[in-house]
Symmetry: D2
Subunit: 392 residues, 4 copies
């Protein structure tokens, strides 16, 4: 069994919990879980969510079942088995300030140092193999030096994601246990050399940053498509608008910047030259809900100097797409831990993440990244060889 703790019981974590149980009961096909086209050494039914942290007063103290009923009940069947896990109070660090009224974290009651220790205590109790960070997009500055870490914690100058990362490390240390943290939000964890080396030191894994589900990986593949034909891209415009909490968070300018950074790096990394572009999560429109609208315009020069253009419009369910990836990230983490991998693993990040760590690692076409990752996993014996599709 792979034991999972989630940080942030929002839409992504709730889709993950509901989807996992539905797949395990045979009610749902494992659509949206990339490696289910192959045979993976760890079946989906071995994954178990054993704990959850949040700071929303409407969630803390309730079961995942109750939370899921509220969030998804009108849209999907919610399995009773989710009554087994209760959402616990976690770390706030102001991450949802102005977004969720009444949000309160352990840090606000006890100070940050103490809060980190208490989360570590709880992790010792819950014994996760993999911790998944899906809290709301927050502003975070990487640690400059190993020495600055303790000081910033003492002065409360860490983001919630960073505090959780330190709690995971404390837990790994105390138990002398190798653990994985998967960071699916834009906060720079796997892109922070200090944190990566701390995880390496602890024999643990830190994958991230920012799960790539929608427009960014598609843009990557479209740009690679153009690059391979040596078409000269002239401009790229990309708009995103949605109605979930993450889009609401992005109306706060300092969070928007976090997202924009991870989205823009894709252009130069893939094309090999820079192009005027406007790539932004643009707006919040409540009625769109979790099904965001994406619009993209790309213009390029073709042979003989003429101009072509491409417009892409998508309606995609934001959270379930990420939840499906997290299923694989959890079991890949487990497989890698078992085989002694530590620090971060670019081959995995490159496919799953918008801003793949380690820092300075390039964004590559997702189709290429996928093949590299498959090769790695097949080499390790974690993934069946041969053509995919057998288990469809």
């Amino acid at each position: 069994m792979v034991r999972i703790v989630v940080l942030g019981q929002g839409l992504v974590a709730t889709h993950l919990a509901v989807g996992l149980e539905r797949i395990k009961s045979g009610e749902l096909e494992p659509v949206g879980v990339p490696l289910e086209r192959f045979e993976y050494e760890i079946p989906v039914k071995s994954l178990e969510i054993v704990g959850s942290f949040d700071v929303d007063p409407g969630k803390v103290g309730r079961t995942i079942y109750q939370v899921a009923k509220d969030m998804l009940g009108s849209q999907l069947p919610v399995p009773q088995s989710l009554e087994a896990v209760r959402v616990e109070r976690g770390i706030h660090a102001g991450s949802v300030k102005g977004l969720i009224p009444g949000a309160r974290g352990l840090d606000e009651d006890l100070g940050m140092e103490e809060a980190v220790e208490i989360v570590a205590d709880r992790l010792q109790h819950l014994r996760p193999d993999v911790v998944i960070n899906v809290i709301t997009t927050e502003r975070a500055e990487p640690f400059e030096t190993l020495e600055s870490v303790r000081d910033r914690v003492r002065r409360g100058l860490v983001s919630a994601s960073q505090a959780y990362a330190l709690a995971v490390l404390r837990y790994a240390e105390r138990e002398a246990r190798r653990v994985a943290l998967v960071n699916a939000i834009p906060a720079p964890l796997a892109n922070d050399p200090v944190l990566v080396s701390m995880f390496e030191e602890a024999g643990s894994l830190l994958l991230g940053d920012d799960g790539a589900t929608g427009a960014t990986p598609l843009t990557a593949d479209l740009l690679e498509h153009l690059a391979e034909r040596n078409r000269r891209v002239l401009s790229i415009a990309q708009f995103n608008i949605g109605g979930n909490l993450d889009f609401l968070a992005l109306t706060l300018p300092e969070k928007n910047i976090m997202k924009e950074k991870t989205k823009s790096s894709v252009v130069k990394d893939i094309l090999g030259y820079d192009v005027p572009h406007y790539i932004k999560p643009t707006g919040f429109l409540e009625p769109l809900g979790d099904k965001k609208f994406v619009s993209m315009h790309i213009a390029w020069k073709t042979f003989n100097g003429l101009e072509d253009e491409l417009v892409v419009n998508m309606r995609i369910n934001d959270s379930p797409a990420l939840a499906g990836l997290l299923v694989d990230l959890a079991r890949i983490s487990y497989s890698l831990l078992e085989r002694g991998y530590k620090g971060t693993v670019y081959e995995v990040n490159a496919f799953f993440m918008k801003n793949p760590g380690p820092r300075e690692a390039p964004n590559i076409a997702r189709i290429t990244a996928f093949q590299n990752m498959v090769k790695l996993l097949q080499g390790l014996g974690a993934l069946s060889t041969g053509l995919p599709g057998r288990r469809a």
Copy 2:
């Protein structure tokens, strides 16, 4: 120098001729020529168009310069150097019947057997290394057996493309010279086992079929993108409409079928399962000219059973896109011939062609196909190793 003869002096051949000269004179960057991101052993300036065949009474007997002036003069500068080559009468076999009034081929005057011999004579005179077939889409049935070839020629039951292929073989045979034929139209040449084995026998190359420039390779990469996330595709609709001769030809039902076949195979080959789809070159709309409009709708099931959808709209210049690919197909052919390749070469077809030969070979994601081809060419020492972009 790589000597090239083109079959069909339409928009593609004319863009190729104009673009090549403009690149050679330094007036135009080699945008749209895939391998120009790397360093290729044969520079673009070594390519030379030395002959051209057509059956249009408005083209036969005139220079490529005059033809290009008429077709592209209002849009692009036409280099004087194109006055060196004159369009000769080629084989018709009814391929533009009902499309070009007054079209007449050698076959109509002399019978097909004699026409093939005369084209072979002319090729002996022109001494091409590579012959490129870009005549208008025509109906063609593959040869069943080696024995049937001679009989069908005698009875005039071959398409223009097939007759040209036989002329190329005659030329190779008579001169004991290894030649390449690149088939960029849907007629099944590289998908015809009989023809492929005849080329193999002659130590010559037959690449094809149907140059992949627009919606089909993009669809391939989009489907691969979805497949790698294990999203379950529910339906695919794809419309194409344009105003060039090829779209006009497709209003004739038997030609439309040729195109539809090559376009549909992509779905099952890449996804591993079949999906209800409507993928068709749909209509002719004269004012769109060579800049076709493509509209695509793809719906899929994501994690937790929800539905997403994607709409792609493109305006792309049809002919220059193919012309850019032909530049590379010509020099790759030359490199392969020099190294003893014969018959057909799937690794090259898989990237460049909508319906890559040999018959039964699968359509794969173009990004994957590109990498395989690059690996092959780097292995042969034809292509620089290292990252692309150096010569941008």
Copy 3:
């Protein structure tokens, strides 16, 4: 009370039945019913479906409730009150040949003349004020002369819609009652001068043809938008693809032609000049279901000779859109009958129909047509004056 009989218990009739009952019970807002923004003299709750005819063996003899459960049960709540009406066998005339296995009409058992009389008998029993034709798109040729009618019936050379129209006339005649027939399909009834004059003679109403719900009225308004700025339209491409029975019917070429005709007339009528266009219901794609996909490309010349372009993509539920219009068509018909209108009424057709009768009447921008119709109805005292929106 306005008594309604529907011809063809397909998706449109079923949405109409379900929607009407849900509005009447207060469960549903009257969204999609145009005049509900105003105050109409006949409230929606006065409308009652009292009879239904079909030839599908899976429907004849069952209640509308049972049929609706099958067709919409997974998507919508189906009111029990629909158990009151049973679907009766109607006229086939080959209208769903090749589409619905086992379809059989009264005409196949008894001959057409007798079938018309029996439907008239049933109408005498059901006593409708308004009969609504929503059978599947069928091929129909207008009557040339009054004299030819009887002859064509005798020889079985009438379409199902025409036969139903004659049955409605027989019923009106026998009962000396003024009745309305609303033709929401492309068969030319209100565009057939012979039929219109027969209805006029009978003091009855014939509205039609082909309810305008999707791309056609939107195209009309977009073209008017361009015309009013004197932009010169260069080309129009419009694709429609869907998965309901009507799209399946359109894969049969002779039905496709019926649709194409009504869709194309809009261009010249509104712009005042003809434009190369491709406007077609293009294809059938079963998974799209009743929610069709529409893609449109319009290019035009703007001031100073430059070119602009517009792409429209829609996903619209085909049948409910028409059902909403039928609610108003039923009560408008009733109001007009009460005030002595007979024959056909262009002011109403111009807004509601793709091919507004009488024959030769132009297609105008829908926004204009709406205002003209509102003015007519306000003049008659049927519709509240003042601004709309009061009852929203």
Copy 4:
């Protein structure tokens, strides 16, 4: 002859100048000039640009010909006749601060009071009938009271548009001449009751504000289209991105707000209820140039509670579209002045402007507005009656 002075020799004014001359010489059809479908009492050839003001050091002192050569020379032929008019220094008031290096206005040299007088002097010399304001979007606050005007001028607290408006009034006053000012930018002039009453007092006309060329009037007509079918709009997202100076100006937040205001009012005015919407000029992307990209997503509820959606994507040349409207605004202004109209005229603003004055006047569907305006002009005898299209 109608004498025109333009304020701001940017792309719009330059397209206007070039297009007018090309139409007058017969080289260009009057496409994009709305009333040219009819017969207007003042032919286009009677319009003459007699003066131009700007503050760009690259333009002041040069002829319109020279400016046009620079701006449009690579795209369009520029008539020699434009050498007759030289661009003069106008009023800056910081309107292009941060956008055009070195911009300097009369106000910076002489103070605002004096600058207004000097512009009035120049107008006395140029004797325009119509002054057209097409300076770059600037921030402006309406005058609160008549008394505040003089004071704000003295303290330099007026925008460039306001200062120009006062100069026009001074000119009208001094010459006892009735003049029209057409305000095609978002600054609230026709929406400022104080300014409107000053123009009324002077027997002059003030039309505005913000010429409606692109997404806004189309949105208006699309919403009216939905409203007339009583579809319940759920959300509206609209993005605009372009590469001209106006888009660059909108990257400065206080200018963006000016645009957003005029764009949003359309929703409630037409639908009769408010809808969550995101309607913004979103970004600047230099390579798009004057041909902006617009993307729109509208979702609504249809009959029986189901949801439909519409996506619109446009590529439109921003400036020529407005220039075409200005041709008609100039001659309509002249006709209205001649017939004694003064203050502002809603019937004209409602069609041509994004934010039609007077203040509080509603935004209505453009198709409706067009008909109202045509009726007014036909009533005055300025416009031919009968169907349009005669002169096409």
